[in-house]
Symmetry: D2
Subunit: 163 residues, 4 copies
DNA sequence: TTTT
DNA sequence: TTTT
């Protein structure tokens, strides 16, 4: 009935932009959130939490987030499940974000490097809003469709569309 | 750096109280949280989210929560992992709660039935506070220790203590 | 940059539905949220937090919420200010809700009584969505416009529209 | 029953550390949180939200936060009221924080300037925890007690202690 | 493996 | 001015 998550942490890798078969943008990334205490052994620990964004927000994240960036994520916990290739049901827990805030601009710190896409965010993020279907900034041929040729089991489909 | 979750939903089963080898109370339950939209097929869907509480709060939850009860949970997302009996790393995502609110008193509705424990909450919940170690309301012999004889791989240990 | 509030408490009064001059629905109510501790003197205390909802959500709240009902509110803190009739700047802090959950159906407990409007919610609430402008369930003449004739300084206007 | 706020914004001024008559540390500051939309006129707007921290956390905030710093605040909304010198009841809404995260270290950007206190945070913040009473990092004579000689009406007292 |  |  109510399901709200707020996280602040750092991306463990550059985000991955994909499209569902019907052409809806999805971006996945993981954020490392330091725990507020140390383990028995005294080491700093973190939770590595998978985040999914859809549509316009997916494209903004793919464009401006990079490995190492401090980021705030707001969304809901989703538990989906699918049958894997051994016929076993697998449960996947993710945060479906509807609001993402870039807490570090592209100049400062971060793992930086190799940004082959835009260099400047245009002011934070949106909130899930706007255009349904595929943005035309992102042309897509069959060849580079991550949902048909990346070898891994396809585990995000149009059925997973959250709205 | 910041990790906050708030959920409102219903318990899918009575909660399960256990103790770690060193005697710390842990209670696990799952809450079903209806999604704010229906699926393509038009059915209501829900996320089934595992919740863990520790110490005093674990005992309060075990005493007063029951299957079907509407409940608010506040906590953080934790992703732990362990190696299963086939040597494969398994990831488990849970909400570690530090605040649980009973939104339905024991009188009204609910699945009711068979409450062999207390019948009245004494005013909501605490917030993780208080006594370390084991409460003496809960005697425990070796025989009924869920961590040594329930047949399933032991997947919660003192190493998982969150504070 | 991020502003999120979640409250669970009880309405101190029936909600008040009004319309801005241009006809947008606004509902205001106050929820009493018990503090998690008692005062020095040992009394239970509560915070009385003003909540504002707009448009479709305003109408749903006006229809289904009543004094005493347990309610969950999700939104953002807003601090607006205006000049009062003595020329002094007054600051008003409110929660602008975009999600409201009715945690008690109309049957159970509550202050009940005098419900001259609908008796059954149709499943929770929405989330700010939908129709701009005025719903036609709510006819409104100049005479009963709370924004032109209630004697009090008009302190909500179209300028306060949050989206 | 549940009251949770999470904010990310920038301090409008350096924080103010004070002590209650019995010597408990309190720090107040305001954070400016940009709204997620622009006003009718198209200007960026912000909410200016007063924040209060107590005890150990108050001292950490006073030491490390400065005007302009990007900061995450977690806490609860509190509405207190007092009678002013004209005998009128005044309502004050504040966020009582139990967790504060410094999202910008002291090197980068910010309004910088004139930091006459420590230059390096020792790793974020705590969470309200720890020592009751006054830390001995902060010597205090009668003369510089902000609660006895600052001329302004004393509006925070030991009665406001949240725990 | 799921709740109302 | 406040709710159970």
């Amino acid at each position: 009935m109510l399901n709200r998550v707020i996280l602040i942490g750092r991306l463990t890798k550059d985000p991955e932009l994909r499209y569902t078969p019907s052409g809806v943008a999805v971006t996945q990334f993981t954020i490392a959130v330091d725990r507020p205490f140390t383990s028995q052994g005294g080491e700093r620990e973190a939770d590595f939490i998978p985040v999914v964004t859809w549509r316009q927000l997916a494209e903004t994240c793919a464009n401006y987030l990079r490995k190492g960036r401090l980021t705030a994520v707001e969304g809901r916990i989703q538990v989906r499940n699918y049958e894997n290739n051994e016929g076993k049901r697998v449960y996947v827990t993710e945060v479906i974000a509807d609001n993402v805030r870039f807490l570090e601009s592209n100049r400062e710190g971060g793992a930086g490097g190799g940004g082959q896409r835009e260099e400047t965010p245009f002011g934070g993020s949106g909130s899930g809003g706007g255009n349904t279907g595929r943005s035309n900034n992102f042309s897509r041929g069959n060849q580079n469709d991550p949902f048909s040729d990346d070898g891994k089991p396809i585990d995000i489909s149009d059925d997973d569309l959250p709205f």
